[in-house]
Symmetry: C2
Subunit: 109 residues, 2 copies
Amino acid sequence: MVNYNRRLDATFAALADPTRRAILMALMRGQSTVSELARPHRMSLPAVMKHLGVLQRAGLVSQKKIGRSRRCRLVARPLKNAEAWISQYRAFWEKQFDSLDRYLTESDK
Amino acid sequence: MVNYNRRLDATFAALADPTRRAILMALMRGQSTVSELARPHRMSLPAVMKHLGVLQRAGLVSQKKIGRSRRCRLVARPLKNAEAWISQYRAFWEKQFDSLDRYLTESDK
DNA sequence: ATATTAGTAAACCGTATGGTTAACTATAAT
DNA sequence: ATTATAGTTAACCATACGGTTTACTAATAT
C-alpha cells in the first residue's frame, strides 16, 4: 500500500532542518566551499559537514574537490520532484481556502 | 542567519515518512477514522497513531472525536507553504534542465 | 450486564539525528 | 622546511524517531 519512495523521503528529511535550508539558500546565490557555507552558522565545521552530507545523499548538493577546498553546488532536480508530490494537493488547498470550507474546518474545534 | 521556521521544519519532517505520506493520500480521498487509516499498513495501531500525532502537530491533519471513533481530515494549508518554499528554486531547476547546465553538472564527476 | 470495538497511554528498544571535541590529512603559502 | 588553511575522521553524547507489547478507557452492540 505504502508507495516507497526513498528519494522523496531523503529530500523531505533534508529540507526539515533550518540549517540545511539556509545552506540551500546560500547555494542558490552561487557555488560555495564548505567553510564559506559554514561561516554564518554558529556551529562547528564538522556539524556543517554532516548537514552537507545529508544534502548530498539526498542529491540536493554536488561537490567537487578543487585543491584543498571543495566546491559545492545546488542540484535542484529533487526539489522539482518534491514540488510535484506536494502539487497533487493543490486542488485541495485551493478548495479549503473558500469560506464554506473554512466554516467546516472551524466545526472541527 | 538561519531563518527559523519551525512550522516548515514540522511540515517537511512530517512528509519525510512514506507511511505519513500514504495517510495524507488516503485523506485526500476523504475523511477517515484512525483504524480505517491504519488498516492498509503492516504495523500496530499505536504506531499509526504516532504518525497521526506527527501529522497533527504539523497541522496537516485535524481530528474530531465522534462517539468512540475519531474523524481525521486533511488540512492542506501547510502544504501550500511548503510548496511556496520549494518554488523559490523553480527558476533554478528549470535552468538546470537545459543542456549546457547538464554539461556543467557532468563536469562535477 | 456483558462483550466488542475504537482508541489511548506507558514502557521499552534499536537506530538515527544533530551536535560536540580532538586528532588527523592534504594542499598552499612563506 | 615550516606554518597555516581547508577539510575529514572518529569517538562521544543527548535526544528524537519509528516501531513494539501490554494494559487501559470509553462508547456501542447484544
